[in-house]
């Protein structure tokens, strides 16, 4: 039994319920226990353009809460995972900054030492649970399903900070999907950005990025797209119709979270996986 404090972030627990539902259904089946912990806040990453110190402080604060509970953190959002990783990287090389941050954290009775580990969905499944264990739980093979993976920029770059997946040729989601019998295939736009980081200030351009990637996936006749980031999913799934308008195409690409795909292969009830919450046409997959 592996045990983690669930660090939910902002986007997943306030609107991307399908990700949270499928995580809470699937991980316990793989002997991973998630502990709900009160007190967490935003990871700070969305504020990096405004004030980088705010980002660093918020990230350290969340890590400190994990340390206080003496637990490692499960961080399902790549953006949060990046923010917390970068904070650990910065503070391990800058003692002066660490002392300044700790001086501020003291008001909430918190202290950052850098002792909590953080994992994302992909490395938890691939490296810690392992492909062999996943295979044991497959009840329904996804044979013949052609899938396009999308990792999310913050999960794979920059490798200098230490990311859970390779920067230029990420393959861990592919390995997991192969274990389910599905057929993950390469496509040239695999590393393209979803556009979400500029949704706050350049909405049309952000949606155009989303539309361009989905259009290419549709043209290459994939059955579905699989992602692991609530921000990317918000673009590719929740805003697919709007994204289609920007590229003058009717987009009909089913987009699913990796944990939803796992749940389907494990024969979990579809409603429990939040499949009725996906806005993209997931029903046409007939799973």
């Amino acid at each position: 039994m592996k045990k983690y404090a669930l660090y939910p972030g902002c986007v997943m627990p306030t609107e991307q319920y399908a990700y949270e539902l499928s995580i809470r259904e699937v991980l316990p089946l793989l002997d991973v226990e998630l502990v709900d912990t009160n007190g967490f806040s935003c990871c700070g990453e969305p504020m990096k353009s405004v004030n980088k110190m705010v980002t660093l402080y918020l990230a350290a604060r969340n890590l400190a809460i994990g340390e206080k509970k003496e637990m490692d953190l499960f961080v399902p959002c790549p953006m949060c995972h990046f923010s917390l990783s970068e904070c650990k990287h910065v503070l391990s090389n800058n003692n002066e900054m660490k002392e300044r941050i700790n001086g501020m954290l003291a008001s909430e009775n918190l202290a950052y030492n850098g002792t909590s580990e953080i994992v994302h969905t992909v490395d938890l499944l691939h490296d810690i649970v392992g492909i062999d264990e996943i295979k044991k739980h497959v009840k329904k093979s996804l044979k013949g399903l052609k899938l396009a993976t999308h990792y999310g920029c913050h999960l794979i770059r920059p490798s200098e900070i230490g990311r859970p997946v390779d920067a230029e040729n990420p393959q861990k989601m592919e390995s997991i999907l192969l274990a389910l019998g599905a057929e993950p295939l390469y496509y040239p736009e695999k590393l393209d950005c979803c556009g979400a980081p500029i949704l706050a200030n350049l909405r049309e351009s952000a949606l155009t990025k989303t539309g361009q990637k989905l259009q290419r996936i549709q043209e290459q006749k994939f059955d579905a797209m699989v992602d692991v980031c609530p921000w990317c999913h918000k673009m590719f799934d929740s805003r697919q119709n709007k994204a289609g308008e920007t590229v003058a195409t009717k987009l009909e690409v089913p987009v699913l979270y990796l944990t939803q795909v796992l749940g389907i292969a494990f024969a979990v009830n579809k409603e429990k996986l939040g499949l009725n919450l996906n806005n993209s046409p997931v029903n046409k997959l007939n799973l």
């Binding site: 660090y7 939910p8 902002c10 986007v11 627990p13 306030t14 609107e15 319920y17 949270e20 539902l21 809470r24 709900d36 912990t37 009160n38 007190g39 967490f40 806040s41 935003c42 969305p46 504020m47 990096k48 353009s49 405004v50 004030n51 980088k52 110190m53 705010v54 402080y57 918020l58 300044r100 941050i101 501020m104 954290l105 008001s107 909430e108 920029c153 913050h154 770059r157 920059p158 490798s159 200098e160 920067a167 230029e168 590393l191 393209d192 950005c193 980081p197 500029i198 706050a200 200030n201 350049l202 909405r203 351009s205 155009t208 990025k209 009725n276 919450l277 996906n278 806005n279 029903n283």
Partner: protein, 175 residues
């Protein structure tokens, strides 16, 4: 209190501005030693494909000290933080870090912050998260919320006042 109010409090703003200036001066020195304008950053840049961001030019302009010009330009706000420039730079220059410093400086100098950044920061100050729990609709057009899906209450700062105080202090004066 809005972020604009927070960042225009004269004395502390000067301090923050000095710090960012120092950071940029440091960047400027480092860049002059390393960047040789190969353009790999711009070749991969996600914002370049759609908008007009050219990270290698941002680096070159910083190197030449044209900082105010860039702080006042809209182009620094087109970065999609895809990190390809940082990943692929053979000299480890990380143009994205320069862009972040320029944006921070634009905010600290009281320039209007674009888009929803202000409301996101206000939301973090009041509830700890960039937005509160939203209603979403299902395939068959039913409106659902966290509770109706059987999800537990959301994790938020326990002592909101203390959280807000620390963060406000940070937004006003540097740590």
């Amino acid at each position: 209190m809005s972020i604009v109010d927070l960042t225009s409090m004269a004395q502390s703003q000067t301090e923050l501005r000095n710090e960012i200036n120092e950071r940029l001066a440091k960047l400027q020195n480092e860049i002059s030693d390393y960047c040789f304008q190969c353009g790999k950053c711009t070749a991969g840049c996600e914002a370049h494909k759609l908008l007009e961001l050219e990270p290698h030019k941002i680096v070159a302009l910083t190197k030449r000290g044209l900082i105010d010009e860039m702080v006042n330009s809209d182009v620094i706000w087109t970065c999609m933080s895809c990190f390809k420039c940082w990943e692929r730079c053979p000299q480890k220059v990380a143009p994205i870090e320069i862009l972040n410093a320029l944006k921070n400086m634009a905010v600290a100098s009281g320039k209007q912050i674009p888009g929803q950044y202000t409301s996101m920061l206000q939301s973090i100050l009041s509830i700890g998260l960039i937005q509160d729990v939203q209603e979403v609709s299902t395939h068959d057009n039913k409106i659902v919320k966290r509770e109706s899906l059987g999800l537990p209450p959301i994790s938020k700062p326990v002592d909101a006042a203390k959280f807000q105080m620390a963060l406000t202090k940070l937004a006003v004066e540097k740590v």
